[in-house]
Amino acid sequence: MKKTNSNLSRRSFLKVTSLSGGGMMLGISWFASAKPEDSLAELNIEPVWQEVTSFVKINTDNSIKIFSPNPEFGQNVMTSLPMLIAEELDVDWKQVEVEQGNYDPKAFPRQFTGGSQSIRMAWKQLRTVGSAARQMILTAASQAWNLPVSELSTSNGMVTHAFSGKSETYGTFAAAAAKLPVPKDIVLKGNESFRLVGSPQKNVVGPKIVQGKPLFGLDYREPGMLIAMTERPPAFGMQLKSFDATAAKKMPGIVDVFAIKVYQDDHKFAGFDTRSFNEVIAVVGKSTWDVMNARKKIKVDWEVASEKKEMGMNHRENIVPSGLESTKKHYAQMLEMDKKPGKIERRDGEPEKAFAEAKHVIERTYTAPFLAHNIMEPTNTFAHFVGDKVRFVAPIQIPDMMVPSIVARLGIPRENISIELVRMGGGFGRRAYGHYMIEAALISKQANAPIKLIYTREDDVSGGIYRPSYQLTYRAAFNENKQLIAFHAKGGGVPESPLHANRFPAGAIDNYLAESWVIPSNITIGAFRAPRSNFNAAAEQSFLDEISEYMDKDPIAFRLELLQRAKDNPVGKTNDYDPSRYMGVLALVRDKSGWGKSENAGKKRGVSAYFCHNSYAAQVIDLRVNGEQVTVDQVTTALDCGVVVNPEGAKNMAEGAAIDGIGNALFGQLTLTDGRTDQRNFDTYRMIRHNEAPKKIDVHFVKNEIDPTGLGEPPFPPVFAAVANALYKATGKRFYQQPFQPQLIG
């Protein structure tokens, strides 16, 4: 199959295997040395897989099982990924049973949940799986009936010969199909022929969820399993000095108490190895309650850690500073950094000269605090270490990224690691960092028992891997006609910069300067739904609102004007965004929200738009303010993520993004005093609740034929600024510091 129209690698081919029950199983793989004439027998050798893969099983009774390869954390890929296969396979969706694939890099090389990439990466690959299986069924039917394939058709899992009226199930031909060579040319449907893709389908796990079935890692148990928790430093910047577990070990149900080191001192840190504390005290016992109680009895001496150098991959040295850090000091440090020259990330035209000659300059500084992920299912993992093998049942977004670290820490071969993937009770980036798997394996090894490691909510909130604290200062220069002549973005954070120098409005303004800086910190940070974008959008889209007001322009018209410039005559060589798609969501949200219509004149509304993760989103938010209470009456979201595979799931995600964004914009903050987080549970960390959610959310998709470009993250970042801009309309006050709601008090 050298030539297909599915854009797969030339070395790719499909793999068929017979099932013991007489059905067929089809996967897609990328074989290093595949030849077009490879037969089934040759395909049975151990493959080397390189990219996305998935399986479909067809049984003789015509039941269809489709494996969903990617970890599921609520983005509903367990429904939408199998839909891609079922579409091309031409089966009735009701025939299909979906099962979560376990970690298996040979079968499923891209088991990655993050970056809004699941559907985008699977779009052609999984459809190819479905199409190939359908073609093989057709060939088998043609041979059985001695009729040309061209006279046969498929529908809803049936093969039909229209002239004779013959009709049989796929299952009838599955065994014969499994013995056929893989087709050389695989044709995918044109978008106009989709029947399942684009039709709203319910979450396939919905009925189990509403019955509280044990779907999650925290629900896992097996005979002989013990419970483990870890006692860790009370503050960032502290480490274990010594401990006395005599009393704790005497507590009921306690099996052992010991210290573990998550990584060795010479560990080369890869991208997802982040952990809050390296040395922790493990408490192992018979039940959660026993372990919780025993934790309180450990006598521990913690000490302030000295500066550390940690080796990253590529021999990059990362400095982890000493000290007990505080939010107040972080904000002061960030203001200091803003006064110093930053690292120049982009420079178009002559920004310094333009600012010097400007008739008017507007400068505003935006800040945001750390945010905790607050995944509803606290961090956990089951591990059983036996001999030189370890078996996990783990909620993990990117298992493949953790395996090398597990290999390095436990000194066992890669093939001795098995991971059962379980549904995750939220992720948002937090479960990309699987240090807890290493902790669980080490504890199981030392305790010589199967264990389930559980973090309490306090452990999760106070020892997290947070969204960094950021600051961005924007300056806009105007000439005597109030025309925008120069733009300057200078941003940084603790400990990373949020700046995306090549995103809008870069490309739309002749004189442009972008600078970044960072402040080293021992507070651990990581990906949080739309990393960096979630702050950039908040700051940039608030600033554009404010300068459009100075320029006496409508906020949407002003943005469209800038985008038109970027489209017609872009400044600079590298602009990361497509101005047309950007304009598309702005126009859609304008029309759907009735922006500028006289009947909406009294509404306090704000608009915002942003591009990230290959997709475009815009929101208009209508709200009211009464004292310190904000009531959001309506959110109108416009989204361009290309073809929408499952509109029901997609709408749910976009609605959730609006609520998540409003909650974090108004209330979200993780602050620190002397290295200790001021929030430790939901009684102190304010989350948005039912009575604070928008009264109405409308989601509209731009209809186009663009291959899917991602959905989970893009509708989240613009929400923050839409809230800020609406709050300005409601209060006459601009909001520069997140969270906004505390500024309404007093």
Partner: protein, 152 residues
Amino acid sequence: MIKKYSLNINKKVHQVEADENIPLLWVLRDNLGMEGTKYGCGVGSCGACTVHLNGQAFRSCLLPISALAGTEITTIEGLSANGDHPVQKAWVDLDVAQCGYCQSGQIMSASALLKNNPNPTEEEIENFMSGNICRCGTYSRIKKAIQLAATK
């Protein structure tokens, strides 16, 4: 102190030997293997562990076993035989869940609300449900599902 307790859960009597301070949440999950009731915060602030105690919604993480004598406890496993309680059906019909972790608790709160107030106003729904956090942000769908279940 370890004592013997007799608990009436989902119309069945369970004998449990446990510490007198252990919250019902951990009795259900660890002692009885009923994992539909979820752990979210342990301090009664998120509602993931909501059960019915004599027909009223309670946070099981705050209910010590010693306080449960003579009460009728219902968990998500006992809400219906086959997941066909009107609230559960409405949840499926309106495709409420994202990650789904908080939904047991949301459903237990919603079913308690409707039991005591069959036709709640929007405001009553919002206020009653405000003890249940959904991190994925499915609040709008939850409200619609409760309104749908109220018509059944």
